[in-house]
Amino acid sequence: MNQRVMLVTVMLVIASMVALADGPVIGEKAPDFTLEDTHGNTHNLSDFEGKVVVLEWTNPNCPFVVRHYRDDLMPALQRKYAEKGVVWLVINTTHPEHRDFETNESLNAIFEEWNAAYHAQFVDLDVIVGRAYDARTTPHMYIICGNGMLRYNGAIDDDPRGSNPHSERVQYFQNALEQLLEGEEIETPETRPYGCSVKYTKDT
């Protein structure tokens, strides 16, 4: 392919990704992606076809994320559903010049201290995957079924501050995952996520 054709192709691909900025649709194919994880290994989402996949957007400098990890809420979910064959992927979309940006070494150390039990954490340096999923907050949860369709998009639960006892919170994400694994219809497939905004640019 000559250089000019390649350039036009790249621009068309980027343009179509920007057009997807309205986000993935429940019941439709979740956007495929290729990212490197914090140990330098590259994966495609399509590598996990046939498995239920969870995507969790994260930023360890966000107080909402900190609470979910320090209170062992997120790691407990990660452990529980790993046992049921769910592939749990964490995605970190943080602009490299933003003050919240952490190196791979730092991310591995932080999440290890928190006893995280995810399959892998991916670093989305070009912020393209965040845009494709219209990921807005950290945390922001997505569930993709074995066929690659998006089945849940939104908040982890209904309690941004964690002010209610755990048993009183509506577990939007976990309920959806349980219903999917049981083959039931997902009653509440979409909710407004809460958390810090995803840092797409260095100033946000």
Binding site: I26, P63, Y172
Partner: protein, 215 residues
């Protein structure tokens, strides 16, 4: 707040959470819901937030239930929690109290923010004639019909258990419309609230949906 930091309005927008207050009010007194001055809109790459930068005063009205409460110096205390953001966000909490008998400690600040309180839509030159909600599968389009002119801007109130993408709000001559999606398929939207902006003044409204149609 420190320069360029901001907190959120009662509808924080696409991200963020509003202020929460738990009050401790002595017997014989009641306290109103929070009364918000007109916020600003912040647009970060298509993600819309509503809030207050650098400085904010959110009001609440204390009402003695009867004349002559007999308490010499009633004290109201509040535990407030808020999220304040600049590039990163910080969740903060604080407790404060006030003795009702004291005179206003900051009259200029109070007056400045009282000026920023939205007016009632009853005083608006533009009226809402009706609000429809038209549903196609899981997507509901809310249309606010106006009479008497058009509006310069519209900030929706808290959407409840519905998803609203704030950049998709469309304002045309005579109508404001925007799509929303319910959290749960069986939910219907019952009322709409928000601020209409006309010539630099904000007017607050809350209306029941007149027409709920399925297509």
């Amino acid at each position: 707040m420190e320069q360029d930091w901001y907190i959120y309005w009662e509808n924080p927008g696409d991200a963020g959470i509003p202020v929460e207050v738990s009050w401790e009010v002595p017997d014989g007194f009641s306290i109103s819901e929070l009364i918000y001055p007109t916020p600003e809109r912040f647009d970060t790459q298509g993600m819309i937030s509503y809030g207050y930068k650098n400085e904010a005063l959110i009001l609440a009205k204390v009402t003695p239930e009867q004349q002559g409460h007999g308490i010499p110096a009633p004290v109201i205390s509040a535990r407030v929690s808020w999220m304040v953001c600049k590039e990163s966000c910080i969740l903060e909490e604080g407790t404060t109290g006030i003795n009702i008998k004291e005179s206003n400690p900051q009259p200029e600040t109070f007056e400045r923010f009282r000026q920023k309180l939205p007016k009632s839509v009853d005083q608006s030159p533009v009226k809402i004639t009706s609000i429809d909600a038209t549903r196609t599968e899981n997507r509901i389009v809310v249309t606010i019909h106006l009479d008497g002119g058009s509006v310069d801007d519209f900030f929706p109130g808290p959407p409840g258990n519905f998803l609203l993408s704030h950049k998709d709000i469309q304002i045309q001559d005579g109508t404001i419309s925007y799509p929303i999606r319910p959290y749960t398929a069986s939910s219907e939207i019952k009322e709409v609230s928000g601020l209409l902006f006309i010539n630099g003044t904000a007017y607050k409204f809350k209306e029941i949906i007149h027409n709920n149609q399925h297509q």
